[in-house]
C-alpha cells in the first residue's frame, strides 16, 4: 500500500492559488538548460531517466480532491517514461524561446498523473539541452537549479568519466521531517504568538500600491467602506508580462560592498528600496507591507532534497521619515530575522487571523509587491563544462497570482537582473520602468549617504 502525505504549508500555498484562480497554470515553473556543444542525446535521455529516479520530487503525484477539496501526495517508485526530443535547430533562438514559452503556458491538469515534463531540445546556434516543465508543488527554483546541476554531473560522469555525483537527500525523509515540525505543538504556539504579537502591536496593515493611493481609494468606494485598508485582487485577467532590467557589474558591486560592510543581507536592502518607493508614491505612508519569498533551504538535506520549500511571508515595517537609511535597513533586517525563525508557520494562518480580527473582505489584499531574491546563479556549475557557452532561461507561466512580482538574481557577468512580472490587467511596462528607475535612485542615493533621512531621500529622488 502506498504512503500518502498531506501537503506542506509551501505546497498548500500553491494548491490554494490553483483553487482560487481556477487554473493549474499559476503553479507552473519551467526552465531550459542548454550548452553550445554537441550532446549525446541517447546518453542524455538515460541521465534524465536516472535523475527522475534520484530526485524523488520528480516522481511526486497528487490524489483526487476529497469532498473538502483537499488533496494528498505520494511518490511512485519508478517512472520509466520516454523522454522526447524536439529539434528546433532550424529556427532562430527567439523563435525557439517562443515555442518553449508556449510549453510553459501549458497546464498539468488532473490527478494521479505525472506533474513534471522533460523534453530534450536541439536549439539553434548549436545549443543542445533539455526543457523542464513542473508543478511548483514539486519544486522551487533552487530545487530546479540543483536538479540541472545534478543532471549535468551525471552526464559528465558517463561522457567524460567525471566523478559520480554525491547522493541527493531523500525527498520523502525531508518531507516527513517537515510535516513533523509543522505538527510540533510547542513550535506552532511560538510561531503563532510571533505573528499574533505583530498584529497586536501594529494593528491592521494598510495597503500600498505601486500606482499610488488611487487603487485603495477605488476599493474603498467599491466596498462602500471609507476606512477599508485592503484593496482588490485581480482574479480574472491573470496574464503576466515580464520586463527585465540588468544592473551592470560595477554598480552591483557597490550594492554588494555596502551589504558586506554593514552586515546587511541583499534581500533587506532590496526590501528597503521597494518599501521606500511605495511610501513615496503613497503620500509618505509609513506602514508598508511587502510579501517576501523565503527559500527555507539551510541544511544539506534541505538543499538537495528537491521539493517546494519556498514560501512567502509579509514583511511589514513602520518607518518614519526621520529614520536614517541605514537604520531603516537594520529595522527591516531585524524584522526579517524574526520572520526567518518563525518561517515554519503556515502563512495562510496569518491571513486567516487578519480576516478574523479585521473582517478583511474576500478577494482583497494588503500587499501589491512580492519579492524573491535568488543569490544562487542559474548556471551549470561543472568543471567539465566550464568553458562551454550556455543558454538557460526561466519561462514565466503566464498567469500571475500577484500584481507585481520582482525576482532579483545575479548574472554570470557579475551584474544583477531585476525581473518584473506584472499583471497586464492593472499595470504597464511604464509602471515597471518607473519602479526600477526609482528603486535604483533610492538604493544608490541611500548607499552613498547612509545617514540620509528616509523623508529627505523620498523628496530628492
Amino acid at each position: 500500500m502506498r504512503k500518502e502525505y498531506p501537503l506542506t504549508a509551501a505546497q498548500n500555498m500553491h494548491y490554494q492559488w490553483i483553487r482560487e484562480y481556477k487554473t493549474q497554470q499559476v503553479s507552473g515553473v519551467s526552465i531550459v538548460a542548454s550548452l553550445k556543444a554537441p550532446l549525446d542525446f541517447g546518453l542524455l535521455k538515460k541521465c534524465i531517466q536516472l535523475e527522475i529516479q534520484r530526485y524523488g520530487c520528480m516522481r511526486l503525484r497528487f490524489t483526487k480532491p476529497d469532498e473538502k477539496g483537499e488533496i494528498r501526495q505520494y511518490l511512485i517508485k519508478h517512472d520509466a517514461r520516454d523522454i522526447p526530443l524536439k529539434d528546433m535547430s532550424g529556427m532562430s533562438l527567439a523563435e525557439a524561446d517562443d515555442v518553449m514559452q508556449n510549453w510553459a503556458y501549458q497546464t498539468l491538469d488532473g490527478d494521479n498523473r505525472p506533474m513534471c515534463e522533460v523534453v530534450m531540445v536541439k536549439l539553434p546556434e548549436g545549443f543542445n539541452g533539455f526543457f523542464v516543465h513542473m508543478d511548483h508543488r514539486l519544486i522551487d527554483s533552487c530545487g530546479l537549479v540543483v536538479m540541472v546541476n545534478d543532471l549535468m554531473s551525471l552526464y559528465t560522469h558517463y561522457r567524460f568519466g567525471a566523478e559520480y555525483p554525491a547522493d541527493l537527500a531523500d525527498f520523502e525523509s525531508v518531507l516527513t521531517n517537515d510535516l513533523q515540525k509543522a505538527n510540533n505543538e510547542k513550535r506552532f504556539a511560538k510561531d503563532k504568538k510571533f505573528w499574533d504579537d505583530q498584529l497586536d502591536a501594529l494593528g491592521e496593515p494598510l495597503y500600498s500600491d505601486i500606482q499610488g493611493p488611487s487603487v485603495l481609494e477605488e476599493a474603498r468606494k467599491k466596498h462602500k467602506n471609507p476606512k477599508l485598508r485592503a484593496a482588490d485582487i485581480e482574479r480574472k485577467q491573470l496574464f503576466v508580462a515580464v520586463k527585465d532590467y540588468i544592473l551592470e557589474p560595477e554598480p552591483t558591486k557597490g550594492l554588494i560592498d555596502f551589504c558586506m560592510n554593514h552586515q546587511l543581507s541583499m534581500t533587506n536592502l532590496l526590501l528597503l528600496g521597494i518599501r521606500t518607493y511605495l511610501s513615496k508614491v503613497n503620500n509618505g505612508q509609513e506602514d508598508i507591507t511587502i510579501e517576501n519569498f523565503i527559500s527555507r533551504r539551510s541544511t544539506h538535506d534541505e538543499w538537495t532534497s528537491g521539493g517546494s520549500r519556498t514560501i512567502m511571508f509579509p514583511c511589514r515595517t513602520v518607518i518614519t521619515p526621520d529614520t536614517e537609511f541605514l537604520a531603516a535597513a537594520y529595522e527591516i533586517q531585524n524584522v526579517q530575522n524574526r520572520i526567518y525563525m518563525h518561517s515554519n508557520y503556515d502563512p495562510a494562518l496569518i491571513r486567516e487571523e487578519m480576516k478574523k480580527r479585521y473582517g478583511t473582505p474576500e478577494d482583497t489584499t494588503y500587499e501589491s509587491c512580492y519579492l524573491t531574491y535568488q543569490p544562487m546563479p542559474v548556471h551549470v556549475d561543472n568543471p567539465f563544462l566550464q568553458n562551454i557557452e550556455m543558454h538557460s532561461k526561466w519561462f514565466a507561466n503566464g498567469a500571475a497570482t500577484k500584481k507585481m512580482y520582482l525576482t532579483v538574481s545575479h548574472t554570470p557577468e557579475g551584474g544583477m537582473n531585476f525581473s518584473y512580472h506584472y499583471q497586464t490587467a492593472c499595470l504597464t511596462e511604464k509602471d515597471m520602468e518607473l519602479l526600477y528607475y526609482y528603486m535604483m535612485r533610492i538604493l544608490f542615493t541611500g548607499i552613498s549617504r547612509p545617514d540620509i533621512k528616509i523623508g529627505e531621500l523620498m523628496e530628492i529622488v
Binding site: R187, S265, S295, S298, N337, Y340, M341, S343
Partner: protein, 77 residues
C-alpha cells in the same frame, strides 16, 4: 550523546565542517558560512531539540560556536 556533541551534530547539518573538526572559536557567519536565514532557522532548531526558550535579542548576538554552546548550557541549567 551529550549536549555539546548533539549541538555540533546540528551545526554540521548547516555547513561543510564536520562535527569533530569544530572549534569553539569558529564563527557562524564568517567561518561556517551561515546566512541570516540559516542562523535563525538553526536557532529555532536548537529551541526545539533542547526544549529551551531563546531570548531572541541576545541569541542574534551570538557569533561563535563557543558563545552558542555557553548560551545553551546556561539555558538548560
Amino acid at each position: 550523546m551529550n549536549r555539546a556533541a548533539e549541538f555540533k551534530k546540528i551545526v554540521a547539518q548547516y555547513c561543510s565542517v564536520a562535527a569533530k573538526e569544530m572549534k569553539d572559536e569558529m564563527r557562524f557567519r564568517e567561518d561556517l558560512g551561515f546566512s541570516s536565514l540559516d542562523f535563525m532557522s538553526f536557532l529555532g532548531e536548537l529551541e526545539d531539540t533542547f526544549d529551551v526558550e531563546l531570548e531572541q535579542e541576545s541569541a542574534v548576538q551570538v557569533r561563535t560556536i563557543g558563545d552558542a554552546l555557553q548560551m545553551l548550557e546556561e539555558l538548560a541549567a
